[in-house]
Amino acid sequence: MTGIAQPLSRRGFLRLSAGAAGAALVRPGPAAAQKAQTLSILHENSFIKTFDEYFRQTLAPEYQKAAGVRINYELASVGSLQTRVTTVAETGSGPDITLNFFNWPYLYDEKYVDLSDIAAEIGGQNGGWYQSAKEATFVNGRWKALPFGNVGQLMVWRTDWFAEIGVHRFPGTWDELLEAGTKLKARGHPFGFELGHGFGDNHGWLYPLLWSYGGREVDRDGKAVVLDSAETARAVDFCRTFFRQTMVEDVLGWTDPNNNKAFLGQQISCTNNATSILWAAKRDFPEIAKVIDQSQNPKGPTGQRYHLLNSWSHSIFTHTPDREAAQAFLRWLMQKPQLSRWYEAGDAYYAPFLHGYDDAPMWKAEPRNIPYKESLATSHLPGWPGPASRAMSESVSKYVVVDMFAKACAGASTRDVIKTATAQIKQIYGAS
């Protein structure tokens, strides 16, 4: 039993979108003058092919049947979505709806339609949103995007090789992981955590490492730069030791595909990644898939564990000629009959931000994915505990925190790397 719900009937659709239609009739804004026959939604190629296929082959035709509106599913290649979104936002033409990552709703807030009413409605119907969902999409008191799911970055490890050194449960702290990694490297099974300039697998473990040691880029107000601290220094020192004792030098130049390839090539015993490694192993390397497990990030000296929030959400561009039609589509898409099927097509790669999905059948289908759901409670955007901001994006795009750790691993002194990173953060937060 997959738990896939029945497709929504035409009548059901009309009932669900009555609110939007009513609003359109009562208050037809200038943008509503043109009735949409077609809507375009911009996405990035998913690592989980069935996810995109399900939308194209099932959800889009269903909506066309129910509402008479054709949905174009426009895919950008991996890593190029932001360039496309920037172009669309700047030119005011192109797709009506877009996928967002991280804090993009903050970057493009003035180009996005307020979706607060739909967010409240969907949240109310599904047990409420996780707080982390709000962190990435709630801009100046308004929901500028509808949260979809989180692509968590967790620990992916080989149970058989860990068992060889007597470790049967994933280490609970970074120190315990260091101990295990030292033994595993000596046995020819090093770790591989990205320290290069990829898109997410680097930030995915380095920000949580910094936070779990008590280090922060900026304070809660998002203004005071507090990176230069004893906690940051301890995190940097640990990272250097962790790199030297458990990893290979190559990780300094890795980008996102490298750790997947190395893990599936049986070169490394542990990495930090989304669930795509397990997914690909089940498809192509079933023997390896049997000995993979996934766990939450270890705790630091503060006794806390953290994860990076890689929020996926959907927004409507203000230039869309028929906002109501776009809102009606998103409202339909976020209803349980559609949403639960799309999540399942994604094989739990996207952890829902709605509490109503905490016990969804997709978690039972593959219990090894459950840590990705559990990590939502401790997931934050880079730059946390400061509020999401443009400065946060600039800091991430300049790899300030990643390079602070990477330079230390390559041999620079802790003092120097923190000094350089602090100067950069001060400039970024002071200038933006």
Binding site: L252, G253, K261
Partner: protein
């Protein structure tokens, strides 16, 4: 009957009368401008406009999706106080100078070899162009596999043939990463040099070589006193183009290293892209991109003056 020459070519006046617009078109000034208009419009739309818009952006604080605020030279001041900017500048100059020298030397050598007579000469010349023809992103993905720590064919050879236990981390070590991207750029750009110089070599009259040989000049002297001086203008032109392309290179670095490790391979173009697109700071990104301009302008002016003198 005597018929004058004038009479013999006389045709009815109605037949020679041409429409007024054709008369206008036949004026040299009009015709030449008509011919020039398409490229001028093309350059204005796709070169001049983006350039001046870039200059305009660089003078604004211009977050993506928001109106800009004029800040004068503040973005450039921020660049100058950014340590990564200086690292990027060093990287870009190192990358450009070393890659250009390698391409010039290698391209010249290759052109001299290709200028000889040998079997399958045409096939070899055609295959020489392959690295230049293949889309950069595609060939760079292939290089990504060649340098891949897990699947690197180079490392496989080093381990199995040279019996090495520790293999180089081509893209993980900052110096090797820079060397690697220079190598790939050289591989890609060499055919451009070689083919252009080969074309130059073929314009040198054989009589000059014969005269030099009669005067007792050996191969080295023929190269120094005949080939090189006559090839110099072509070499300068091709170097100018190569420097411009290399200085503003983006795809290769973006695909291969993303500017890592720790900014060791970041160039102006990749750094500007990250700031403008990733960071959403269009004005600041434009200022980094424009930082390339003075160096390129000086180079182009210098080479143009030299060519005029020649």
């Amino acid at each position: 009957m005597n018929v004058t020459r004038a009479q013999s070519v006389t045709v009815p006046a109605a037949a020679v009368r041409r429409p007024a617009w054709r008369g206008v078109l036949e004026r040299e000034a009009v015709w030449s401008w008509l011919m020039l208009a398409p490229p001028v419009l093309y350059l204005a739309a796709f070169v001049a406009y983006p350039f001046f818009y870039g200059v305009y952006l660089s003078l604004e604080s211009r977050p993506v999706g928001r109106p800009g605020v004029f800040v004068g030279l503040r973005n450039f001041a921020l660049d100058l106080s950014d340590p990564v900017f200086w690292q990027v500048a060093r990287n870009t100059f190192t990358y450009t100078i070393v890659a250009t020298l390698l391409k010039a030397a290698g391209g010249l050598a290759l052109a001299l070899v290709m200028n000889q007579q040998f079997r399958l000469k045409n096939a070899v010349r055609a295959s020489l162009l392959l690295p230049f023809i293949v889309p950069t992103v595609l060939s760079t993905v292939a290089w990504m596999w060649i340098f891949d720590p897990t699947f690197s064919v180079i490392n496989w050879v080093l381990v199995h043939a040279a019996r090495l236990h520790a293999v180089p981390s081509w893209l993980g070590n900052p110096s090797l990463a820079m060397a690697s991207i220079i190598f790939v750029n050289t591989w890609r750009g060499l055919p451009f040099y070689a083919i252009t110089l080969l074309a130059g070599l073929q314009t040198i009259p054989p009589d000059l070589y014969e005269a030099a040989a009669i005067d007792g000049a050996g191969p080295r002297q023929r190269f120094s006193y005949v080939t090189f001086p006559l090839l110099r203008p072509v070499l300068i032109i091709v170097t100018m183009f190569s420097v411009i392309f290399t200085f503003s290179d983006f795809q290769l670095v973006y695909v291969l290293t993303g500017g890592g490790p720790a900014n060791a391979t970041h160039l102006f173009a990749t750094y500007a892209f990250n700031i403008a697109m990733g960071g959403g700071q269009l004005g600041l990104g434009a200022s980094v991109a424009l930082a390339m301009f003075p160096a390129l302008l000086l180079l182009i002016m210098g080479l143009t003056l030299y060519l005029r003198k020649e």
